[in-house]
C-alpha cells in the first residue's frame, strides 16, 4: 500500500498506472465493450470501392482491409499482448531468479557453470534467437510466450546472481547458518525476501520488453498467428496499406508504445521507491 501511494505521487508513474489500468480493463471486458466480433468481416465494413473505413462513424477506430472492426481487434489484441506480457515475463523472471539464486548461493563449479551458460545466452541477439526458435516451432500463443521467456531470463539471472553473492557474505546469513539452519531454509526465508524488490522491478520493466518483443515477432509473421488478433499482427496484416490506411498501423502502434512506456515508467518508479541506492541509475 505504501508503495502504491508513493507511485501515485509521481506524475509519470501515475500516468503509467492509469494507462495500464485502462489496457487491463479493456482486455478483461473486451467482449462487453466491443460492438462487433473481432473476426467478423462486416457487410458494411468496406467502402463501395472496397477500401477500409477510416476512424469515426460507426467504427471508433475504423475498419481493416477485410472489413473487420479495428476497435474490436485492438481490444481482443490487448488480451493476447497482456497474456504474453504477463506469462512470458513471469516465467522469465522465475527462471532468472532460480538460476541467479542457485549460482550465487552454490558458487563453486556448479555456480560457475550456471553463470557461464548465462554468459553464453548473452552472446545471442534476443530477437534473432527468438526468431530461430519460433521458426523451428509452430508459433501459437503459448509457444510465443515460451520463446520470449527463454530469451528474456538472462538479465534477471545476472542481477540476482550479483545480489545473492553479496547477501551470502552478510553476517545475518552466516549467523543463521551457524545456528544450524539448512540451505532451503536460508534460501527461502532469508535470501529470497531480499531479492523480492529486484524481482518486482524486473517483473515490471520486463513486461515492456516482452510486449515489444511479441509485437515485433508478430509483425515479422512468426508471432501469434492471424486471425487471432495481437497488436503486432494487426500491423503485420496491414503494413503494405500504411499510406492509404495509416490508422491500421498507427493506432495499434501508438497503443503498443503507450503500454510499453507505461510499464517502463512504473518499473523505473518502483526501483526508486524499493531501492533508494539505485535512484537515478538507468
Amino acid at each position: 500500500m505504501r508503495v502504491l501511494r508513493e507511485l501515485t505521487r509521481r506524475p509519470s508513474a501515475l500516468f503509467g498506472l492509469i494507462v495500464v489500468a485502462i489496457v487491463l480493463l479493456a482486455a478483461i471486458f473486451a467482449p462487453w465493450i466491443a460492438h462487433f466480433s473481432p473476426d467478423d468481416q462486416l457487410a458494411d465494413g468496406l467502402s463501395l470501392e472496397g477500401a477500409p473505413l477510416p476512424p469515426g462513424g460507426g467504427h471508433f477506430f475504423g475498419t481493416d482491409t477485410l472489413g473487420r472492426d479495428l476497435f474490436a481487434r485492438v481490444l481482443f489484441g490487448a488480451r493476447t499482448s497482456l497474456i504474453i506480457g504477463l506469462v512470458a515475463n513471469g516465467v522469465a523472471v522465475a527462471i532468472g531468479l532460480l538460476v541467479g539464486l542457485l549460482a550465487g548461493y552454490l558458487r563453486g563449479t556448479a555456480g560457475n557453470l550456471l553463470m557461464r551458460f548465462t554468459d553464453l545466452m548473452m552472446a545471442f541477439p534476443a530477437l534473432l534467437l527468438a526468431i530461430a526458435l519460433a521458426a523451428l516451432l509452430k508459433p501459437s500463443l503459448w509457444i510465443v510466450a515460451m520463446v520470449i521467456a527463454l530469451v528474456n531470463w538472462v538479465q534477471v539471472a545476472r542481477i540476482v546472481y550479483t545480489e545473492t553473492r553479496g547477501l551470502v557474505e552478510r553476517d545475518f546469513i552466516v549467523a543463521e547458518r551457524s545456528l544450524g539452519a539448512g540451505n532451503s531454509r536460508i534460501i527461502l526465508f532469508h535470501i529470497l525476501p531480499h531479492l523480492m524488490p529486484t524481482a518486482i522491478v524486473w517483473g515490471t520493466l520486463g513486461i515492456a520488453t516482452t510486449v515489444l518483443l511479441e509485437a515485433t515477432l508478430s509483425f515479422l509473421g512468426i508471432g501469434v498467428q492471424p486471425p487471432q488478433p495481437s497488436w503486432g499482427n494487426i500491423i503485420f496484416e496491414s503494413q503494405s496499406y500504411f499510406q492509404d490506411a495509416p490508422w491500421l498501423v498507427f493506432i495499434p502502434g501508438a497503443i503498443i508504445l503507450a503500454t510499453a512506456l507505461s510499464f517502463n515508467l512504473i518499473g523505473d518508479a518502483l526501483r526508486d521507491i524499493l531501492d533508494p541506492t539505485q535512484r537515478g541509475r538507468l
Binding site: 545471442f124 515492456a208 512506456l261
Partner: protein, 306 residues
C-alpha cells in the same frame, strides 16, 4: 593486464563453441527432417536415406557436432533449402550493406545519446533533465517497426524528402539509420547521464571548476572521457540490439542486408540461413565484447596499471 586479456580471449573462444553447440542442438531438434526437405516432394525413401547418409545425419550426435564445428571452422554454414547455395556466400554478399546501415545507426545513436545524456547530467534534477529522461523512455519503448513506418509515412510518403525504400545513395540511409539509432539513443542517454553524474561529483571536477576553467571545458574535457568507460563496456550488448534491430529495419525499408536475408528466410522457413545469421550475429557480439576489453586500457590508464 596481459593475462586478463588472454583469459578474455580464451573465454571468447569457449563462448563461441557454446554458441555453435546451441545452434547445432536447435538444428538437431528441428521437427522437419532436412533430408526430406532437400530431397523434395517426389523423392523415394531410398533417395532420402542416401541424402541422409551424404549429410552424415545417420551418425551419432557427438560425431555430427564435431563435423558441424569442423564445417563452421572451414566457413561452411550449410546450404540454403530454398536457394540451393551455400549460406556463407549469401551472408557475405549482403554484409557490406548491413555494415553501412549499422555504422550510420551508431552515428545517430552516439550523437543523440551523448548530447542528451550530457545535457541531462549538467542540468540534473530540473525540467530539462526530466524532459530528456521522459524522451529517452519514449525512445526505448517504441516498437522499431512502427517508428520505421511512421518515418516513412511522414518523410517519404507525405513530404517526399527521402525515398520509400532501396539502397544506393546517401538519401536512402537517413531513415533506416534514424530508426535504428533512436532506440539505442534512449539507452545511451540514460547511461551517459548516470555515468556523467557520477563523475561530476568527483573532487577533480571541483578542482577544475575552482581553477577557473569554463563549464564547457570541465564537462567536455575533464568529465566526459571518464564517463565514457562504462559506455564502451556496453558495446557488446549494443551490437546485439543492433543485430536484432537490423532484421526489422531492413525488412521495412527493403535494405539488402543480412537482416533482410533473415527475414526472407523466415517466410520460407529456410532454417540454415536463419542459423547462419544468428551465428554471424553472435560472432559479432563476442568480437564486440572482446574489442571493448582491448580498447578500455587505452581509454583509461587506470586499467593499464592493474
Amino acid at each position: 593486464m596481459g593475462s586478463f586479456l588472454a583469459r578474455r580471449l580464451v573465454q571468447a573462444v569457449l563462448i563461441l563453441l557454446g554458441v555453435a553447440a546451441i545452434t547445432f542442438l536447435l538444428l538437431y531438434c528441428l521437427p522437419a527432417d532436412p533430408a526430406v526437405l532437400i530431397a523434395g516432394r517426389s523423392a523415394t525413401p531410398q533417395m532420402v536415406t542416401a541424402i541422409r547418409h551424404e549429410l552424415g545425419l545417420d551418425q551419432p550426435l557427438v560425431m555430427q557436432f564435431l563435423h558441424y564445428v569442423g564445417n563452421l571452422l572451414h566457413g561452411d554454414l550449410g546450404r540454403s533449402y530454398t536457394q540451393k547455395t551455400e549460406v556463407l556466400p549469401l551472408i557475405l554478399a549482403r554484409l557490406p550493406a548491413t555494415l553501412v546501415l549499422m555504422a550510420a545507426g551508431i552515428v545517430v545513436e552516439v550523437a543523440l545519446g551523448l548530447t542528451f545524456g550530457i545535457i541531462a547530467a549538467v542540468w540534473r534534477g530540473g525540467f530539462v533533465d526530466r524532459s530528456v529522461m521522459m524522451l529517452s523512455f519514449v525512445g526505448v519503448s517504441s516498437p522499431q517497426f512502427v517508428v520505421a513506418l511512421l518515418l516513412l509515412y511522414v518523410f517519404a510518403a507525405t513530404l517526399g524528402w527521402f525515398p520509400m525504400s532501396g539502397f544506393g545513395t546517401a538519401r536512402h540511409v537517413v531513415l533506416p539509420a534514424l530508426t535504428l539509432g533512436v532506440l539505442g539513443a534512449g539507452w545511451y542517454a540514460r547511461m551517459v547521464r548516470s555515468a556523467m553524474i557520477e563523475v561530476l561529483r568527483q573532487d577533480y571536477v571541483r578542482t577544475a571548476h575552482a581553477k577557473g576553467l569554463s563549464g564547457r571545458r570541465v564537462v567536455l574535457r575533464h568529465a566526459l572521457p571518464n564517463a565514457l568507460l562504462p559506455i564502451i563496456a556496453m558495446v557488446g550488448i549494443d551490437i546485439g540490439q543492433f543485430m536484432s534491430g537490423v532484421v526489422v529495419v531492413e525488412a521495412v525499408y527493403g535494405w539488402p542486408g543480412i537482416g533482410q536475408l533473415a527475414w526472407q528466410a523466415i517466410q520460407q522457413v529456410d532454417v540454415p540461413i536463419i542459423m547462419g545469421v544468428t551465428l554471424v550475429s553472435a560472432l559479432a557480439i563476442v568480437l564486440g565484447n572482446l574489442l571493448a576489453d582491448f580498447v578500455a586500457p587505452f581509454v583509461d590508464p587506470r586499467i593499464r596499471s592493474q
